[in-house]
Symmetry: C2
Subunit: 337 residues, 2 copies
């Protein structure tokens, strides 16, 4: 049995953009748990858009990952040795063990006990994890969609967006998705059952395409991107529209912020509400989202797609593919086959 | 007695900017009330920032004033002849009679009966009118300031802003005002009792001045301007900040919208809420604002300043002065001395 742990650490900050050499693979010994600790064999890494913020040295909602430290990441793993009564050997855990194959824990970085009976263990990293919570709570709590309204989603085929679109549809809304490339458009229409999907990369006129896709205007905009897609949406919002700001993937750097159209007039005239949503503020509501999304999943009403890379080495590339919009479904890395 | 009515009509649209020749003075006969009508002698015109929107041909929250028609305006006047049982001769009315000396009404464009015992009649056009309601309700309903928080106000010495600053202070907040020129700075500090006032026209570094004036950051921003002041504020907002979008005076035209920094990242990281407030949506709460503001006024806790032009001819110039930030207090026109 191996005694070597492999860890992917932050080698440099993404100035200006994230690149593979922002990370470095290091080896160390697999640690042994002390009293009150346990050892986790990490099986799955979650790759998330927020990671760009976590490694940047700008203002953010959590302190940046220090240089030389293991990259922060949500994970699923199994306890293989334990001196902690609450986490006996064999327990599956969903937590924040980072980009490494083995991790010591005292339980403080464990978020939930994962139950293999619920379904695939990796689902704890999306539908029953932060992704599902971000989609479900951001849409329902901030977006407050009502049946009959039109909901627009940027990165509509992405891990969060695809759940948002399906939940909005379940709630009786017309759904319009923005995504990149004909394959993802087809995926939006067929798998995630959007009423309309717009290929923002191919569209010669986003405004015209949106007008056709949302003839009654936009009531809720779940915004993962900012940028040109948002600019088109802001021209089509209805009175009382709600804009859920969840991500800024189309804004590569915000120090200083890039220039774009000022939305003030639209916000005023439409009495719109534009509000930031950070899932970490609402973690205590995870079980509520797990229950509701789990029920819809078991009823066959929510479809999830995974985009899996194999081995720790693939983590930086998976992140780059995600930031470039090349992933097809929730980006993951599998460490144990 | 004169039989001539004078009316200021819209001559052309403000392309690109409002100018005096957007308006034209016309004469007509003073009309006589038919059954169910009454004649109003208009005494006071209210000059408001929203007027630029009312005469523009772009998207807005009310249809534009048609070319050749009397300019829309809030007014105070007195009934001089009546065939309407609810508005007998002598009644003082606050309504929307427009830029004209005499107006026929059937009551549908009357908002309130004005009571001279309350105080100066012109106060119905600000403290006890749309201005007071805009300030009071926009601040309390959307901004939701809590005692101990910091509230920033753009156009801090203006008719709305000066009330916002004073109400925020009464509610226990630290108040920071942006205004133009040393005279208005002094006015903010002495008359409206802001804790700090920043001369945005003279400041070599708005961000640094704001950092000094609001060391604990900004919790509520009551935004009448958009533009560079807002850009500085958005860099200083606290987690959970509320931005009340009430006006866009620093944005001369929004077709197409001008460019500025994208706020998405700040809104996301700070979980801020940016929301448009249009007083017309909340007109049914006017009496509540009148009661509360009236009480504070009678207690000597709210001070109001008026900027009065004389005669109908002065209305376009008063509007231009307001849009240029040259007014000192609520902009009005007096038609009857």
């Amino acid at each position: 049995m191996t005694t070597t742990n492999r860890r992917m650490v932050l080698a440099r900050r993404p100035v200006p953009a994230v690149a593979e050499d922002c990370f470095r693979l290091e080896e160390s010994s697999i640690p042994e748990p002390g009293e009150g600790q346990f050892l986790v064999r990490v099986h799955w890494l979650s790759i998330d858009p927020a990671m760009r913020g976590w490694i940047a040295d700008g203002p953010n909602y959590s302190p940046p990952v220090p240089l030389g430290e293991v990259m922060r990441s949500f994970t699923v793993g199994q306890v293989t040795a334990s001196r902690h009564p609450d986490f006996p050997e064999g327990t599956w855990v969903s937590g924040r063990q980072g980009w490494q194959e083995w991790a010591l824990s005292d339980g403080s970085d464990i978020d939930r006990i994962a139950d293999p009976a619920d379904g695939p263990l990796s689902y704890n990293l999306h539908l029953w994890g932060m992704t599902g919570l971000t989609a479900y709570l951001g849409l329902t709590m901030v977006g407050q969609p009502q049946a009959g309204e039109t909901v627009a989603v940027s990165t509509a085929a992405g891990s969060v967006g695809s759940i948002v679109g399906q939940v909005a549809r379940i709630l009786g809304c017309r759904t319009v998705g923005f995504t990149g490339g004909p394959a993802k458009v087809a995926q939006c229409l067929e798998e995630f059952r959007y009423d309309a999907a717009i290929d923002y990369k191919a569209s010669p006129d986003l405004a015209a395409d949106l007008a056709a896709a949302a003839p009654d205007g936009i009531d809720v905009y779940y915004d993962n991107t900012g940028g040109p897609i948002s600019d088109a949406v802001m021209e089509r919002i209805n009175v009382g529209a709600r804009i859920v700001v969840v991500g800024t993937m189309a804004i590569p750097s915000s120090t200083p912020p890039p220039q774009g159209p000022r939305y003030n007039r639209a916000i005023l005239v439409k009495r719109a509400r534009m509000q930031g949503f950070l899932v970490l503020d609402h973690f205590h509501r995870l079980q509520e989202a797990v229950d509701q999304l789990g029920q819809w999943y078991r009823e066959g009403r929510i479809h999830v797609r995974e985009d899996v890379g194999d081995g720790l080495e693939s983590a930086p590339r998976q992140l780059l593919r995600l930031l470039a919009g090349e992933n097809e479904g929730k980006a993951l890395v599998r460490l144990v086959s």
